[in-house]
């Protein structure tokens, strides 16, 4: 009787660093994740701004001039866009994982997104009213 021969398997294909470009869902996911880079950079720049204000107030006006530069304004607009994208995707995901319950009504992810976006608008107005209006 002949012996059963073992044939080699094809190993798992390695995922290259560009795996996220192969599929629209993966690309949206990676863009969503990369918003974190802009959030982190903004925070670091803001901490630097507070440090300059506290430690070297004489140089603070130079930093304010930097804020007015086209590069900084461009970066800020992009960062705001990405931060809002993070917020909206966060609200949707949270709406899936922990839907809001009001009595017998449980929100869908889209409803959660709408409610949280409205809350974001209200919180933003309250902050502007508390700290900036008329000052």
């Amino acid at each position: 009787m002949s012996q059963k021969k073992e044939y080699p398997e094809l190993p798992r294909k390695k995922l290259g660093p560009g795996w996220w470009l192969g599929n629209r869902h993966y690309t949206v996911y990676m863009v969503r994740e990369l918003t974190s880079f802009f959030v982190a950079v903004f925070c670091i720049l803001y901490i630097y701004q507070v440090a300059v204000l506290a430690a070297t107030p004489g140089s603070y006006s130079q930093y304010l001039d930097l804020l007015r530069s086209p590069v900084m304004i461009g970066f800020s607009i992009v960062t705001l866009g990405f931060t809002l994208f993070h917020a909206f995707t966060w609200f949707y995901l949270i709406g899936r994982v922990q839907p809001l319950k009001f009595g017998g009504w449980t929100t869908t992810p889209v409803q959660s997104l709408i409610i949280n976006t409205a809350l974001l608008a209200v919180i933003s107005m309250v902050i502007i009213g508390l700290f900036f209006l008329g000052r």
């Binding site: 990676m30 959030v39 925070c43 933003s124 209006l133």
Partner: protein, 132 residues
């Protein structure tokens, strides 16, 4: 749960809280400080928004601390995980360590400078503690 997993679970909880903070508090700060003020858009203020917020203003300083510390934690934590998915898997441990160091230094620096900008609050606390 292993020790590493317990710590990670705790840090994930903080990361998750940071996600809420970045979503609800960061957009208005970016808009007012980095877009509205330099371009002279609403709400127009007499001074730059940051010095209005934090100079001898403990509530504003608290808002800045929560918004920036929470968002920094969330952003760095998430970005270091993303780098692993972009092909830097072998360097992930080193990247994560650098990330946590950046978070720690950033939050401590922010706390230090905010307290430096709020001498009345610091004096009040020291007075309560009986140090001054």
């Amino acid at each position: 749960m292993s020790v590493a997993a317990r710590l990670h679970a705790l840090l994930w909880g903080v990361f998750s809280l940071g996600g809420f903070i970045a979503a609800f508090l960061l957009p208005v700060l970016i808009y007012v400080n980095n877009i509205a003020y330099p371009l002279g858009l609403w709400p127009v203020t007499s001074r730059d928004p940051t010095s209005l917020l934090v100079t001898d203003q403990i509530i504003g300083s608290f808002f800045v601390f929560v918004a920036i510390a929470g968002s920094l934690f969330h952003g760095v934590f998430r970005f270091t995980a993303t780098l692993g998915e972009l092909g830097l898997k072998n360097q992930v441990e080193r990247i994560v360590s650098v990330g946590y160091a950046l978070i720690a230094v950033g939050i401590l620096a922010l706390l230090y400078y905010l307290l430096a900008l709020n001498p009345s609050f610091v004096n009040m606390v020291l007075h309560i503690l009986g140090v001054r």
